[in-house]
């Protein structure tokens, strides 16, 4: 178990390091970051000033090591546009995004796992067909369009839910659905396929032959094993949601990291852009690592060797 954790930690660390390099080099995609930062109307003196103050005149490896060293201490630099500490801005915006993504994944899992289990218990039944239809339709709905449609019907026509810039829990309902529904088809299909496979396994027959109650067979013996791949998928999808929140947050004007990213990109605020990509990637790495740990807990074949 210790070996497993260390191995995963090592990989996570290496991935994080690589991601930081890619993220850092992002600002050089356009060529000269000082020119990009200064804007089109800037004079040569202004560009030189920015180059000096941001240290873009130093060799790139030195810049990277400096940036990484500060980032490790929690200092992500200053925003050129907002004139604020980037870490501070990100920390104030992060909670909204985490709440949104958390609600979204909660919505997705509470919808898709029971549906997938029900579909697997009775293949080709009405509920199975319903689940399949939902999956096929869900996979084809563009999330931003779905968000606007929901806004139109639930917010404008029926006036059931607030449509934007609301920090109460009702304000998170539509965004969470818009962000979460896209995950449901995948999770549902995986749950269904896993349950179908497990329910036909020999150990389920053993459990039935012991005379265990159907619910015990289903939840203790079947779901526990079928859920293991779902955990990994849910973690990956949660990571995607953090990135995908950019679309939903900009539609519902939720003051989170996604919305910040959108504003930042439009302003061309390079250091802030770097920082956001880095933070979201690190979150993804953290979440998938936690999912690996949860799976090790669920599956003794990983845990006990």
């Amino acid at each position: 178990m210790v070996k497993y954790i260390l191995k995963r930690l090592g990989v996570a660390f290496l991935v994080a390091l690589t991601v930081s390099m890619i993220t850092f080099s992002l600002i050089y995609v356009s060529g000269d970051p000082a020119v990009a930062l200064a804007g089109e109307a800037a004079s040569n003196e202004e560009i030189e000033h920015i180059r000096k103050s941001y240290g873009y005149d130093r060799p790139i490896p030195v810049q990277y090591m400096d940036w990484l060293g500060r980032a490790l201490q929690g200092d992500l630099g200053r925003s050129h546009y907002l004139k604020e500490d980037i870490s501070h801005v990100i920390l104030t915006r992060l909670p909204n995004t985490l709440i949104l993504a958390g609600c979204a994944i909660a919505f997705a899992l509470t919808l898709s796992i029971p549906l997938g289990v029900a579909a697997a218990i009775r293949p080709n039944s009405l509920i199975d067909r319903f689940a399949l239809t939902l999956a096929v339709v869900g996979q084809a709905l563009p999330s931003f369009w779905f968000a606007l449609i929901m806004m139109f019907f639930l917010g404008i026509q029926l006036r059931w839910l607030p449509i934007s810039r609301v920090e109460t829990w009702q304000g998170f309902i539509m965004p969470a659905i818009a962000l979460g529904y896209y995950v449901t088809p995948g999770v549902m299909r995986l749950t269904r396929a896993g349950m179908l496979e497990v329910l036909q396994s020999d150990y389920i027959r053993t459990a039935k032959a012991k005379g265990l109650r159907p619910l015990t067979v289903l939840f203790k013996h079947a779901l526990r094993n079928a859920i293991i791949p779902v955990v990994s998928l849910a973690a990956v999808q949660f990571g995607f949601m953090l990135g995908g929140s950019i679309v939903i947050e900009s539609i519902f004007a939720i003051n989170g990291l996604g919305f910040l990213a959108w504003e930042t990109i439009q302003r061309g605020d390079l250091p802030m852009m770097q920082a956001i990509v880095l933070v979201l990637s690190l979150f993804y790495i953290l979440i998938t690592f936690l999912a690996d740990m949860l799976n090790a807990f669920l599956d003794p074949r990983i845990r006990v060797t």
Partner: protein, 336 residues
């Protein structure tokens, strides 16, 4: 001693498949007394496993199962609710499967899986269940039983897992135990150990047992009664002694020729084999199912239904158009 524990009459299993209706089990009847071992012998696909699953009421949902009588200890199993049936399974009647590698849930400890049936069926405490598990693990020959309880299935070898499966089946002290080819997946060296262990435990706990196996050597030693199955039917049944000493049905004769018997088969003698393959059981099959592979086939074998003969030596019956004397003569001819 001779009170019947399990009685099955005219058990029929039908499974709809894309090509029509599959008849894997066609009117099987047998009974098992307390403390008696019935061995069901036959090649793969003859319906042995489905028969045992039908008795346990564990057939897949698509299968239709009927019987004129199916009773355990006098209780009719056909009309019982699924709820009552689950009270019986693992409690009064339990089953051991042929795949020890996959028959244990990988996510739970041996101890958890051993005790859960007992906790479900009997009013016992956790520690009592644990004690019973340790007692039975020792009974099935597992050393350091207490420490095994915290292990997971993947940490055990196939032979150990099958011993755990046997202990698990015995947890509630069943009156009837069904072992479906419990040794096919194991190493040859372990096969005999496990079968002898089963036979010993069966005598010790005075259970009725159905042992489904290919291993005729074991059958000859442990069987009180033998039922030979071919293509969904019982083709011959009798006591172990009757069937082994006086095999009557041509299929039984062929089976026995296929195995060397120590002291009987001469060194260098050719072992027999049965040519041909098992017929498809989709749709109705007229006449004798073995006709295509039988050396003594006649025109009358191909039509009508061939029923089991009347008992010709105290419960020894067979399914063939020929008389016992003709059959016995066939055996000599074949051997010559």
């Amino acid at each position: 001693m001779s009170d019947t524990i399990l009685e099955v009459q005219d058990l029929v299993v039908d499974i709809p498949v894309s090509a029509g209706m599959l008849h894997p089990v066609q009117s099987i009847s047998f009974k098992v007394d307390k403390g008696e071992t019935l061995c069901i012998v036959g090649e793969s696909g003859c319906g042995k496993s489905l028969t045992s699953l039908a008795v346990m009421n564990l057939l897949p949902k698509s299968a239709n199962c009927t019987a004129t009588k199916l009773s355990l200890d006098g209780e009719d199993l056909q009309s019982t609710s699924e709820r009552r049936m689950s009270d019986i399974r693992g409690n009064k009647m339990s089953m051991i499967f042929q795949e020890p590698m996959t028959s244990l849930n990988p996510a739970y400890t041996i101890g958890n899986q051993l005790t859960e049936a007992l906790l479900r069926h009997k009013k016992v405490s956790q520690s009592e269940a644990r004690d019973r598990a340790i007692y039975l693990l020792e009974k099935v020959g597992i050393t350091a039983a207490a420490s095994r309880l915290t292990q997971y299935p993947h940490q055990l070898s196939g032979g150990l897992r099958q011993r755990v499966m046997i202990a698990m089946a015995l947890m509630c002290g069943p009156e009837m135990i069904i072992a479906d080819e419990p040794t096919t997946a194991l190493d040859v060296t372990i096969q005999a150990q496990i079968l002898h262990l089963l036979a010993d435990l069966q005598k010790e706990f005075n259970m009725g047992m159905i042992l489904i196996t290919h291993d005729l050597g074991v059958v000859s030693r442990v069987a009180d009664r033998v039922a030979v199955m071919y293509a969904g039917q019982i083709v011959e049944t009798g006591t172990g002694k009757q069937v082994f000493e006086n095999p009557t049905h041509p299929y039984t004769q062929g089976l026995l020729e296929c195995i060397p018997i120590p002291g009987k088969t001469e060194r260098g003698a050719h072992l027999g084999s049965i040519p041909g393959i098992v017929p498809s059981l989709v749709g109705d099959l007229p006449g004798c199912h073995f006709a295509d592979r039988c050396r003594h086939v006649m025109d009358t074998c191909r039509t009508g239904t061939i029923d089991l003969s009347p008992s010709f030596e105290d419960g020894h019956v067979y399914r063939c158009v020929q008389t016992p004397e003709q059959c016995a003569a066939n055996l000599k001819k074949g051997a010559a």
